[in-house]
Amino acid sequence: MTLSREDITAKIQETLADALGVDEEEVVEDATLMGDLGAESIDFLDIVFRLEKAFEIKIPREELFPGDNVLNNAELVDNGKVTPEGLKTLKTQLPHVDFSEFEKDPDLNKISDLFTVKSIIDYVASKVA
């Protein structure tokens, strides 16, 4: 069964609405998970579980969201900023994420803005393709 991008988007909207307790209308492509939709760290795991079930896929833990291996690594983060080396690692690890804005000011506090509804749609689209 091939899912169109619309099908994937609709399913993801439903999944995120359930996981985060928000209205489906709020789950628009450029909404950030933490800033706009109020996700907390534990919600990311919940989202992974739900996506695995909804799309019958397996999501390796470091693939969709970055893990401690990057964010707690002193070589990849320096003084609250992701280092060029760190950025390279993140890009390799998260090919579905758009880093163009983040690159201008790789502040660790802004890393949550990278995770938008669109990044999840792109990720799932690449998995079910």
Partner: protein, 162 residues
């Protein structure tokens, strides 16, 4: 577990589902304040009862080696009241069981009455350190809890004693 808020398990399928019983008693002091003249079991304590039922189910699946902590109340919908004298039946079904976390869906009933639907997520916190360190000893399934478990287990093994 520092305190136990369910009375016993009546069904237990390892890693899959569990059914526990919680008897609501007017001897529970908080019922006299919640509310004066109208004692009903607080909904937060129904969530606690489900968290213990599901938490023990999830803990047992890993032989009580993980520190299982309630991480998220995904859903809690209450459709009826629980009053003194009611015997609540709490059924928890494992939805996901992974290295670092688990989710359950649960229902609370009293006889024919549906009281609540509760979905919870648990974290195996040693696998979700996020840079933090926790004590090595298992403060969730502590000695007190494990010895209580021993009290129940021989009875399971010898049904003749009822």
């Amino acid at each position: 577990m520092r305190w136990i808020w369910i009375d016993k398990f009546v069904e237990f399928e390892s890693g899959k589902r569990a059914v526990s019983i919680k008897n609501v008693s007017l001897a529970e002091e908080h019922l006299h304040d919640h509310f004066p003249g109208y004692p009903i079991m607080p909904q937060s304590l129904m969530i606690e009862a489900m968290a213990q039922t599901g938490g023990i189910l999830v803990g047992e699946a890993r032989n009580f080696q993980e520190k299982v902590i309630l991480a998220k109340v995904t859903k809690a919908i209450f459709s009826d009241l629980a009053r003194p004298g009611d015997q609540l039946r709490l059924e928890a079904v494992v939805e996901n069981l992974a290295e670092e976390a688990a989710t359950i869906v649960g229902t609370i009933t009293c006889g024919e009455r549906r009281i609540a639907e509760i979905a919870l997520m648990f974290s195996h916190i040693d696998k979700n350190l996020a840079g933090m360190e926790f004590p090595e000893e298992n403060f969730v399934f502590n000695d007190q809890f494990m010895s209580l478990l021993q009290f129940y287990r021989p009875r399971e093994a010898s049904p003749a004693q009822n």
